[in-house]
Symmetry: C2
Subunit: 351 residues, 2 copies
DNA sequence: GGTAGGGCTGTGAGCGCTAACAATGGTCGT
DNA sequence: ACGACCATTGTTAGCGCTCACAGCCCTACC
């Protein structure tokens, strides 16, 4: 509307604004960066010119000279799952508040190669640092090898690396769930674990196992799933068989309580039990992990361990930004641990 | 390891590579952009120098001169939900394949102001175009006002705007579900709708209504939820009351079938029915929408309408990139419609 | 009244890269 | 043997911005 040039409408530059406002480009720059030493009338004039032209600072030029792209990268996998998605969300919001932009790259699978490519892609775009959501053993190892020229923060990357990281205390979560079930009078608690190469799965197994051991309870062999409802369903079918078998003669390893490593598998498990004619919590008590929004409305509502994913996202950005500002390229292993919380619902209560 | 300078290790520049390889910086540039007219031996030499120095092209400098940031923006809301998350995922992957980076901004709520801020934020970082996931009436209207200096593609933004867009045929989905239920012998089908200001909710209502009208069935007043399981639960409680009342004397508006506007609400609905002692599908048949991964494992498994979110993401990127390449800043209303598919499961089958 | 100092503004250089053109040397045709 | 032509390489000029510094003018102080 304002500018009807014959030229293909090149975006206005700082010089254009300067000319229109009758000042030098440097003064425009000062106005834009809120430098105090600009007369109010001048500032107003410049502002007016900026608005009139619809001027926007060219971020590339700015980045070139300041050597700051104000962009952070994120590498994530399975971003359609509730956990990663929530983390990503919290992370992006926190980054925006800190004045950074975030670019995400999502992986289909956690191979060292895919991870490296993702990081490469981010580097190409000049990110100043990255958050890697790598709850996966191989990926963490690969990351350790990389020695990147910018700060890295891991999420759920375990504590073995000299890299800053944020994680939820998975082991504590597992202990909470397991001891809750034991406390309800069950002789022991069975476990459906996540894939063995996932650190979170491992930590949950270990929390479950040690709780049983400390309580002097028998430790039944954990079943293994892959986080999907289907795998939980299969595990449920197997466990249902054992319940039936066990009911002939009672042993200390009867299946009366199951701690499932995530809510989706718990859902599958409950379907299998339902189909086998087993009542939950009547014959078998169940606890899950994550507290997805649906969990409260399962049949029956699922006892589970809530993780504050948004807090994880925020903490990881804080960690990353602090590294950026102190200029430390690799802070050896500063870690933030977030405590999960047990949410008790009907799937585990006998009343 | 290679470079042990006293200086704080400035990232190597093209000139550094050129010097090491004994060529001009322009030759390095040529190698990097795969220009054909470079002698093989020279190319190899340069490659070696690049690797030795760990050189990476400075994206800001490149963007400055080429006027291409190769970055696309995405604005989304509720990215923890399965639908938006999947769309985002598909979108990012497609963008990466096309050589673009994507930066996402997530909104807590769909206000015109939040949307504008998000787009502002993206503009500041120099995106070349944006995808806006705006299944929300007010947001769409606000977007139409904006007149942005770069291409925009909407997702689920309705067909009223002269803006390119991708959407799933929500109305068709609703028709599929509704006529499936009618086909199973129900006199009519009740509906639990999404929030009225959501275009998707509206389209589903309209598909449901017209299917009933065409079949000559009574159109009961739709209940309204907010996509959450809780709101579905409340709607379920209300409907359960009607079933009980209706059982006294049969009318043509008996609640024997319900089409719920998304799977999460359907889950809540089923819980309410369960608590009211109603059997699904025995007394009431239910169909949902979305086909979230959990739906297959609900009690009973949920009949629903599957949307191919990944395809939506891909299509939106294709549309955006094509606008970018043809140079059209606003292609008036090129649209891609993706057909949903009915997935029949136990919640709606009488057998 | 001279000089010091501070508020405000302009000038020049250069960030690292690509595009356009210039220069070089060799091959080929006649 | 000479010019045309091509492949290969170098040179130069910015892209739009910020930083460092240089100027100007006005107030304040001795």
């Amino acid at each position: 509307m304002s500018q009807t040039g014959a030229h293909p409408r090149r975006a206005p530059t700082m010089a254009d604004v300067a000319q229109l406002a009758g000042v030098s480009h440097q003064t425009v720059s000062r106005v834009l960066s809120n430098h105090p030493n600009v007369r109010d009338t001048t500032r107003a004039e410049v502002q007016r010119a900026i608005e009139q032209l619809g001027y926007r600072r060219n971020s590339s030029a700015r980045a070139l000279v300041t050597r700051r792209t104000l962009t952070l990268g994120v590498v994530a996998c399975n971003p359609t799952l509730f956990g990663p998605a929530s983390t990503l969300f919290g992370l992006e919001e926190a980054a925006r508040d800190e004045g950074y932009m975030v670019s995400a790259v999502t992986l289909r699978r956690y191979t060292a190669k895919a991870l490296e490519e993702a990081i490469d892609h981010l580097s190409d775009w000049g990110v100043e640092g990255i958050v890697v959501i790598v709850p996966h053993r191989e990926a963490v190892a690969a990351l350790a090898e990389l020695r990147l020229p910018f700060p890295v923060v891991t999420v759920e990357g375990g504590h073995s690396l000299p890299i800053a990281g944020v994680s939820v205390d998975q082991e504590l979560g597992a202990r909470l769930a397991t001891s809750h079930l034991l406390g309800a009078g069950h002789r022991t608690v069975w476990h459906v674990a996540g894939p063995p190469d996932w650190l979170e799965a491992e930590a949950r197994v270990s929390g479950w196992r040690s709780t049983l051991e400390e309580a002097g309870a028998e430790v039944p062999p954990p079943l293994v799933g892959d986080w999907t409802p289907l795998s939980g369903y299969r595990a449920g079918q197997e466990l249902a068989g054992r319940v039936a078998a066990g009911s002939a003669r009672r042993t200390s390893a009867d299946v009366t309580a199951v701690f499932v490593a995530n809510d989706q598998m718990a859902l599958g498990l409950m379907r299998a039990f339902r189909e086998a004619g087993l009542s939950v919590p009547g014959q078998v008590a169940i606890a899950g992990f994550d507290d997805i929004p649906e969990a409260e409305f399962f049949a029956p509502p699922l006892t589970t361990v809530r993780q504050d994913f948004a807090a994880v996202g925020q903490a990881s950005i804080r960690l990353l930004v602090s590294q950026l500002e102190t200029g430390a390229t690799s802070r050896d292993g500063e870690r933030v641990v977030i405590e999960p919380r047990l949410i008790v619902r009907r799937s585990s209560t006998t009343s």
